[in-house]
């Protein structure tokens, strides 16, 4: 059955959110969520990379790997393509938005191994999406990831002035917040369920 790309788009933002439903891409999610501004910057970068790589990976997979029966090469191909794409994004950000480049620091190149990104490319293959669906899936997952990290950063900024028990400061309380956010996102699960 052909699923409407818009449904995939909404589902990947809310019900199948990469972080809050699948728990993919946690590393930078926890590390770069101290401030809304940088979180938003990384969110944009991830969205861009996700959309770009899901389209490019779709094209390479279906037009090069499948015709030659080389599907088993998809991990290595996806990964080098993602790496090259991130490198390109890094060059562009460094050149044109140096402030963002410095505040993202090491986490910009680390998008390369953000498992949300490889995850999107692999889900797209497993779920047998077509090009349009893949593009919307990539874009939606990116927006979902950005939404989650900005929301988390917002909460963390608020919590800065709160008396958090000493043992829970930093990543500890952050993991609890993420868990609560994931529970909240379960509330969306009735809207659209796409697996």
């Amino acid at each position: 059955m052909e699923i409407n790309p818009l449904v995939i788009f909404m589902a990947s933002i809310f019900t199948n959110n990469m972080i809050l439903a699948n728990f993919l891409g946690m590393c930078s999610f926890i590390a770069v969520s101290k401030e809304i501004k940088t979180a938003w910057g990384l969110g944009q970068a991830v969205t861009f990379v996700l959309t770009g790589t899901s389209i490019l990976n779709y094209l390479i997979y279906h037009h090069i790997l499948v015709p030659y029966d080389l599907e088993y090469l998809r991990f290595i191909v996806f990964i080098i393509l993602i790496a090259a794409f991130v490198q390109l994004v890094e060059m562009i950000v460094e050149r044109y938005v140096p402030t963002l480049y410095y505040s993202l620091g090491i986490f910009l190149p680390l998008i390369t191994v953000n498992c949300a990104i490889l995850g999107v490319s692999l889900f797209m293959v497993i779920r047998d999406y077509n090009l349009i669906q893949s593009a919307f899936f990539g874009l939606g997952s990116g927006i979902g990831w950005a939404l989650a990290i900005v929301a988390l950063a917002g909460i963390r900024q608020k919590i800065k002035s709160a008396p958090v028990p000493q043992g829970l400061e930093g990543p500890g309380i952050t993991l609890i917040i993420i868990g609560l956010m994931a529970l909240a996102f379960i509330g969306f699960s009735g809207i659209a369920n796409v697996q």
Partner: protein
């Protein structure tokens, strides 16, 4: 067989296309080309863009002071960038005051050279160079103060104004994995162009002082850069000179005394030197010699940690007590202070009580 060829061929072509794409991007996006750096609207040089300003300047043999080696943690490599720096980066903000921002001061280790730049760098920094040298001798002046004589080995000559300092490099040593620079005042005569002398006190957990006191031996290779600093004798005046120092603050004063001897400056000079006990009066013999050579120079040590029954006949107390005792007013006097920030602060306060103004108080703070 064909399967293998196809697999390898396809993998290679995918990698090849990506590599080509990145190379093109590198050519057109990450290539900042040649940039012209203009310093003080005077000197100009053309550099390859893309690296940080600090390292670019280093390549041009221009050494800005930097204690952390370009990691953006010491805040010493500040310089004015009037054009071509881009917005202030988050890594710089904690080091820049409002006044700095107004004057376009930036951290040169964080700013990258991406376009033509207009810089403002104090003239005396432009003379700084890097020197390779060897430790000729080490003398223990006290338990915690070492006197180093260092001979320059790379055929360069050092040209400095007495009172200035150099930055000594401590290489990685057990307990400290990174190179660090720290500033030390030159204690030697400026007429000696092929060697320098430093007086270095031990500071607990100090990275370079630990190196100097525990690892450095005679014959070791060292490197330093400099000279830096704007603490020196005002030569166009002929007022009385009041010199005030404690501990290793003696170093620049010693250099200045050599200068007075060599240039036959016979302005009336009084040197108040504070120490704890008599054995902390480093190089006291030399100071007495200066008293004999320089007709108008007098050396007035003051000791702060003496027992009441100690036979010491000189002054007791702190340098501020000596100021109180010997200086009546500020008329026709200039004061030169050198030592810890605490000493400087209290001495400056005392001098101001006596009527000294900021214009005639010069100091070198040992942080």
């Amino acid at each position: 067989m064909t399967q293998i060829v196809i697999t390898v061929g396809i993998m290679s072509s995918i990698s090849g296309v990506l590599a080509l794409m990145l190379t093109l991007a590198n050519q057109y996006i990450a290539n900042y080309g040649e940039c012209t750096i203009t310093i003080n609207q005077d000197k100009e040089f053309v550099v390859e863009g893309g690296s940080t300003l600090l390292s670019t300047l280093n390549e041009q043999e221009l050494f800005l002071p930097s204690a952390c080696g370009g990691k953006g943690t010491c805040g010493l490599c500040k310089c004015a960038i009037h054009e071509g720096a881009g917005p202030v980066l988050p890594t710089e903000t904690s080091f820049l005051t409002e006044e700095d921002k107004e004057k376009n001061i930036r951290l040169s280790c964080q700013v990258k050279v991406k376009s033509d730049m207009q810089l403002g760098i104090p003239e005396d920094l432009l003379n700084a160079r890097k020197y390779e040298a060897v430790v000729e001798s080490i003398k223990e002046l006290t338990d915690t103060i070492r006197f180093l004589r260092i001979k320059i080995t790379d055929n360069q000559e050092i040209d400095f104004i007495p009172g200035q300092y150099v930055q000594l490099l401590a290489p990685p040593y057990p307990g400290n994995p990174e190179e660090v620079f720290r500033a030390y005042s030159l204690a030697s005569s400026s007429s000696e162009k092929d060697s320098i002398e430093l007086i270095i006190g031990y500071v607990e957990e100090g990275l370079v002082t630990t190196y100097v006191h525990q690892f450095l031996e005679e014959g070791d290779q060292v490197s330093f850069n400099g000279p830096f600093g704007d603490f020196y004798l005002q030569k166009d005046s002929d007022t009385e000179i009041v010199l005030i120092a404690v501990g290793t603050g003696l170093a620049p004063i010693r250099s200045i005394l050599y200068q007075m001897k060599e240039e036959s400056i016979d302005r009336k000079t009084t040197f108040f030197f504070g120490a704890k006990t008599e054995k902390d009066l480093v190089l006291a013999d030399e100071m007495r010699e200066f008293e004999e050579i320089l007709p108008n120079f007098s050396y007035k040590p003051v000791l702060s940690r003496l027992k009441d029954d100690d036979p010491w006949e000189g002054d007791r107390g702190r340098v501020t007590d000596s100021i109180e005792k010997y200086i009546d007013d500020a008329e026709n006097k200039e004061a030169y202070l050198c030592g810890s920030p605490v000493m400087i602060e209290s001495a400056v306060e005392k001098l101001k009580e006596k009527g000294f103004t900021d214009e005639v108080i010069f100091y070198d703070e040992f942080g």
